[in-house]
């Protein structure tokens, strides 16, 4: 399960020398990262370090400028000499469907009910039949404890409930990997736990996850690998015990000391 115990297996996702800048400002200078089957990788680091940008480049919500991303053996982008290639839009769409994203602000479809939100991607993207999609949606909603709210609209739910629905929406795609972009950052302190507990359940079931977060309790409770990200690089990677240990001498310690308050 741990990436370090199984280095020989091919990673689900591998990112090599990823670069991205905004208006000439380099945000990602050279990012290398891989996520293996069943791994729960957490990206931590100070604000503005480019953590969310890494996620958004991986599923091409943002176009990377250089580097190589391989997902399930398929090149999403690559460099050939100095020429940067991107896979055709169709291939990117197919890849996105297998690595759906959970957002900080939930981003549920406000004009659809909870169950319709969870059915949407299945029907439109995976072309599942409506009945099949409904059945699958009910299973996923049950997994996050939201089945009793199936007919509600998003604006009738609390933040924690919305995020659980968003997780169900991702689960419904039968994903190979789920990308989480600060899933607990927009939640009231009292609601953080219900989302953490759903994510813990997923990790126990072996779901592969890549999580950008500031939530150290979440990191400590579910991460198998922690990547510390700063200044557009990944500075350190390792097991949470190793990285988050008080005696770690790197920049991560200063960060952790600040995050603890």
């Amino acid at each position: 399960m741990n990436a370090f115990s199984a280095p020989s297996s091919t990673p689900v996702l591998s990112v090599r020398q990823l670069r991205k800048s905004y208006a000439g400002n380099p945000v990602l200078k050279s990012v290398d990262l891989s996520v293996h089957q069943g791994e729960i990788a957490c990206l931590i680091g100070p604000s503005g370090a480019g953590k969310s940008t890494i996620l958004r480049c991986i599923n091409f919500l943002e176009k990377p400028e250089a580097g190589e991303i391989t997902f399930f053996g398929e090149r999403l982008c690559s460099e050939d000499g100095n020429v940067f290639h991107t896979a055709p839009e169709r291939a990117l769409q197919a890849a996105r469907a297998r690595m759906p994203m959970v957002f900080q602000h939930f981003n549920l479809f406000s004009h659809r009910t909870v169950i319709e939100n969870v059915m949407e991607g299945q029907i439109v993207v995976l072309r599942r039949h409506k009945d099949e999609a409904r059945e699958r949606a009910r299973t996923c909603l049950a997994r996050v404890g939201m089945l009793d709210r199936a007919e509600f609209y998003p604006d009738q739910l609390s933040g924690g409930q919305k995020q659980r629905v968003a997780i169900a929406r991702a689960l419904a795609m039968s994903p190979a990997l789920i990308l989480f972009d600060e899933p607990t950052s927009a939640l009231d302190p009292g609601l953080v736990q219900e989302v953490q507990s759903v994510m813990r359940d997923l990790s126990a079931e072996g779901m592969t996850m890549l999580i950008v977060t500031h939530d150290m309790r979440l990191v400590k409770s579910i991460a198998t690998t922690v990547h510390f990200c700063a200044d557009g690089h990944i500075l350190e990677s390792g097991s949470p015990a190793l990285l988050l240990h008080k005696t770690n001498p790197g920049r991560i310690r200063t960060f952790m000391a600040a995050a603890a308050h």
Binding site: R96, V124, R169
Partner: protein, 236 residues
Amino acid sequence: MYNFFFLEVPEHLPFLLKGALVTIELSLISMILGTLLGFFLAIGRLSPRRVLRLPLDVFVEIIRDTPLIVQLLLIYFSLPEAGIVLSAFWAGIAGLTLNLAAYLSEVFRAAISAVDPGQKAAAISLGMSPVAVYRRVVIPQAGLACLPTLGGYFVALLKDCSLVSFISVNELLRHATIVISDTFDSMNTYIMVAIIYFVMSFVSARIIRQIEIRLTPSNRRGTITIPLTMDKEGAR
């Protein structure tokens, strides 16, 4: 001697109502065509391609900055010189449609731009194609958001139809002038016309409002009420 209210006019009422029927035809046809054209104008004007955007912007600007009556006169009297001959009715439809489309393109453009970018990102991240994102997320939400405004424009359009009497379309107002030239009773005739316009506008505003209630998800569960907008100034 002052002719008492409705003493003489009612015998012309069927004739006026016949005119009102043409007014309804005019507004229904231009409503459908104008909404469709306005939608495609909005999509075109949101295009990142300047070649497409610029001429559409210019078109909308010209329509919005000239009076409808001048546009109607141009279409009916000046276009034939360029070889395009339209009957009065269809010239009226053309003018009303172009006018409505220009204004609605602004409404649609604003509504489309106002759709939560986060929800678009969510749709993309599920693997939807750009067309699917539009069809399943952007359009339904933008459509709901501009329904009340749209209702206001439709009622305005119904009343704007009176302008096509200037290009000899036999609608309500023109039938009224014919009645007046016959009876010399302008006061009662115009009051009658005003009442007919009021009833038509009021009823269509109610119908649009009912559609709005039906289509708004929050109203399906009956918690939110939206104020009725039927004021032309408010809409523009």
